[in-house]
């Protein structure tokens, strides 16, 4: 009958109205600044840079390849490449960023930088309390503010970080095996050369 659905709906909202006074489980929200809910693993706000070990300057995974800078749709990343090289986690000499800045007032949290990064160096943060009184300088994050440890990454995105670690470990093992193979081959060729010489 016409109007039946309206009455059902009114009954439902009335139940919610009175129920919310008596039944705490009904409440869908928390009193935010005092109460907090743990951030969800799939949450993402703005990117940060991952570093291994304890020293952020030494352990930064970023090799300043500038792919993220080029791919960023709103162009909020600014990178300055270093002149010299320093060894990365695998021991290979690599460039590093002398300046790495993200303007989070421009960033649209699309995660494209994370997807294109070949070095697992840039990941999405879950930090959301970013309000500041300085809307220009305060929202332009520099290298030091962006650098977060791998442990922090494990804290906020446990599953994803474990996958990344496994992948990096596999790469490292492969690289080590190759280096070892190369060393063996080199040793063998050296031995052959000395044998020929003898």
């Amino acid at each position: 009958l016409l109007g039946e659905g309206i009455l059902k709906g009114l009954a439902e909202t009335a139940r919610n109205f009175f129920g919310s006074y008596f039944c705490a489980e009904r409440m869908t929200t928390v009193e935010y600044p005092e109460q907090r809910i743990a951030p969800f693993e799939a949450a993402r706000t703005f990117p940060f840079l991952v570093y291994d070990g304890t020293d952020w300057q030494a352990g930064l995974r970023c090799v300043s390849c500038q792919i993220c800078e080029k791919e960023c749709p709103p162009k909020c990343i600014f990178i300055e490449k270093s002149k010299d090289k320093k060894p990365d986690a695998l021991g290979k000499p690599q460039f590093y960023p002398t300046r790495f800045e993200i303007d989070i007032s421009v960033c649209m949290s699309c995660q494209i930088c994370v997807e294109v990064c070949p070095f697992e160096a840039i990941k999405m943060n879950t930090e959301f309390e970013l309000s500041t009184t300085d809307r220009f300088g305060g929202l332009l994050l520099n290298r030091e503010q962006l650098a977060k440890s791998n442990e922090y990454y494990h804290q906020i995105h446990a599953t994803e970080a474990a996958e990344v670690d496994a992948r990096l470990a596999a790469e490292k093992a492969k690289f080590d095996a190759k280096a070892k193979g190369a060393a063996v081959a080199k040793a063998a060729s050296d031995a052959a050369a000395t044998g020929e010489g003898a």
Partner: protein, 391 residues
């Protein structure tokens, strides 16, 4: 003592006016009454915004505002300060004069309606013989303000919102008038005080409110539907449709002008609730004869707040209608029912006292309700939309 409590505002007015010379007294009395209305209803508006946010919150299992003051009671004051300190932006290509006038016209016409509403025994600013007519004249001119706002803003969202508002308000104005006419047919007067007086009788302790008759109940339901549409409240909030039109006709208003539109909307809601109360719920009369000692204005405002609560409840429950559903509902369902209700009221008037008129009138209305609803539903004029190509 009871008499004094009932007439306290009238006595206060007489006492205040008595300080003035006799020539000035009528003018002073009118000014004081108008000032009381203009002060009281915005205060009630502030309270209602708080009530509404709390109520909607609870309906959605949230707490609602609770930060500013105890239970968030000072929230309306914070909102007021906010809207007062905001920049007043007038679009570059807007018609500045009309853009400026629209909110004022809205608020003025909305407040004019209160002039004829009896808010208690002897508590009416202007007891016009054609009070109901005056009320509808004022109610209809709010459409002008809405269209002024939409047209002068030079914004397509504003204009779309205003077009929708005018289409909706004119359609439902017809329903509103026809559903009120039944009261005039029975009470034989357009004066709102006489309509209340006609309902101020008791049988077995129960009042003779018009809602307790078959035609009155049907009329009240249709009046409530039309009133919701007329005040642009959900589920008939198409003119603002924030998910479709930004904010409808007041998209280009900011700061205090926006606050005036907001105020006008709520005050219109109070005034139409007051009219519904007067026409169908016995105005300031008590619901039981043993409660007649309670001051009459308390009854009027309790009934008004009850209607406001129903408005909030409806807003928290129903989704917005689509434009075609809105129009079909008005012209194909509510209007035929209204016309039938006129016939039923005539029958009621001439069938004489006794149980026969109760049976006949109820049967006609019920059959028509079921019949029209089923017929329309079969023709798919009411109900979910069917798509020809999209499925």
């Amino acid at each position: 003592m009871i008499e004094t409590a009932d007439q306290i505002f009238v006595l206060l007015l007489h006492w205040l006016v008595s300080f003035l010379p006799a020539v000035l007294q009528p003018v002073a009395s009118a000014v004081l009454c108008a000032a009381a209305i203009v002060c009281f209803f915005p205060a009630l508006f502030a309270l209602t915004t708080w009530l509404e946010r709390k109520g909607l919150g609870r309906i959605q299992n949230r707490l609602g505002p609770n930060r500013v003051g105890p239970f968030g009671l000072l929230q309306p004051i914070a909102d007021g300060i906010k809207s007062l300190t905001k920049e007043d932006i007038v679009p570059f290509s807007a018609d500045a004069a009309v853009h400026f006038l629209a909110p004022i016209v809205l608020v003025v016409t909305v407040f004019m309606g209160f002039a004829v509403l009896p808010m208690g025994r002897n508590m009416v600013l202007a007891d016009l013989d054609a009070g109901l007519l005056f009320y509808f004249a004022m109610g209809a001119s709010t459409e002008l303000a809405v269209f002024m706002a939409g047209w002068s803003s030079r914004n397509k969202y504003s204009l779309l919102g205003a077009m929708r508002a005018v289409a909706q308000m004119i359609s439902y104005e017809v329903v509103l008038l026809l559903s009120s006419v039944v009261v005039v047919m029975i009470s034989g007067s357009l004066s709102l005080t006489k309509i209340v007086a006609a309902q101020n009788q008791y049988t077995w302790g129960l009042p003779h409110w018009y809602i307790f008759t078959p035609w009155g109940l049907a009329g009240f339901v249709m009046f409530a539907i039309a009133a919701t549409a007329e005040t642009n409240r959900s589920p008939f909030d198409l003119p603002e449709g924030e998910s479709e039109l930004v904010a409808g006709y007041h998209t280009e208003y900011s700061g205090f002008k926006f606050a005036l539109f907001f105020l006008g909307e709520y005050v219109a809601m109070f005034s139409i609730s007051g009219l519904g109360t007067t026409l169908f719920l016995g105005g300031w009369t008590a619901p039981f004869s043993f409660l007649t000692w309670v001051p009459s204005w308390i009854w009027f405002f309790s009934k008004l707040m009850l209607s406001i609560f129903v408005f909030i409840w409806l807003r928290g429950t129903l989704p917005r209608l689509r434009q075609d559903q809105l129009m079909n509902f008005a012209w194909k369902f509510v209007l035929p029912m209204c016309l039938l209700n006129l016939l039923v009221t005539g029958l009621w008037r001439f069938l004489g006292d006794g149980w026969l008129r109760w049976v006949v009138c109820s049967a006609i209305l019920l059959l028509a309700y079921v019949g029209i609803a089923l017929g329309e539903q079969r023709k798919k004029h009411i109900g979910p939309r069917s798509y020809r190509y999209a499925e």
